[in-house]
Point group: C2
Chain length 169, copies 2
């Protein structure tokens, strides 16, 4: 999966290592996130959803196509609200199989790698179904608290922990 | 200049090609620009200033340090208006010698490469002092008109061309 584009560009762009290029691109534009939303149908009352995404102005979506090709997964869709398009992967299994290994081999060189590591840790917990238990969910909330410090937070960690702790009691 | 960091990271990060990584990063975050401002002390009445820059949240400025190391030039300064830091090169000679060659060898894979090409073209004209002539300035304005389509324009191309045309007449 890694070398489709490298081969395609072997002529005029032989110098570029596509995997490194994409890591650099994601260091700037990528988003490694975990959302936690209320969901009354679940036993713990909260749904945990991991995602990896990158947005770009629609007029130069080339790198999103490149990401989809390289990672062999994800969807690209227009944001109706503005002129951007977004490449996104939301499947736990696909994030673990296609995305995380790339960022182990080609890690981000800024502090954003901490978000990658945190996402990987949450995904590992989810793969063991721990997000369905109160204690597992509390562990996930603790990890997610430290992610994307400059981003917006759509949930209050203490609210979640409070509601889950009541459940345990 | 290219391999200082590659060597430093040779242990844990042997997979990463720093030059490709930086091109990917600049594809997302970099800005290749030419500003044209009124300057009555110059014969043509307008000053042309090329620049290459990249901004980042101050909490993760690692890639800016990496860029300064890799390109062997530029300055990093805080933006007092927000929490970002910016790496920037404004010297015509340094842009031509240290920056443009990198983006020839490791071109951006999105349409932003057109900005790199346009900047290089303007720099070549400036190196021949053509920005000091009415005809040269008009050529530069024509090139700059097509750059950074999603950015803000601080000058009106027609105003510049009008004022320079009067001068030629």
């Amino acid at each position: 999966m890694a070398n489709l584009w490298s081969t395609q560009y072997a002529g005029s762009r032989s110098q570029i290592d596509i995997a490194s290029y994409l890591s650099g691109y994601f260091d700037g534009e990528g988003c490694f996130a975990v959302s936690i939303s209320p969901r009354s149908t679940l036993r713990v009352g909260w749904e945990v959803r991991p995602s990896v995404s990158v947005s770009q102005n629609a007029t130069r979506r080339e790198v999103l196509d490149l990401a989809m090709e390289h990672f062999g997964c994800g969807t690209i869709r227009r944001d109706p609200g503005d002129k951007t398009v977004k490449w996104e992967v939301r499947s736990l299994q696909v994030i673990r199989k296609n995305v995380i290994p790339h960022f182990r081999e080609y890690p981000l060189l800024s502090g954003k790698q901490r978000d990658v590591d945190a996402l990987a840790e949450v995904c590992d917990l989810m793969a063991r179904d721990e997000h369905r238990t109160p204690q597992g969910l509390i562990s996930i909330v603790e990890i997610v608290k430290g992610m994307n410090p400059s981003g917006t937070r759509r949930f209050d960690p203490e609210t979640i922990k409070g509601s889950v702790s009541e459940m345990k009691a």
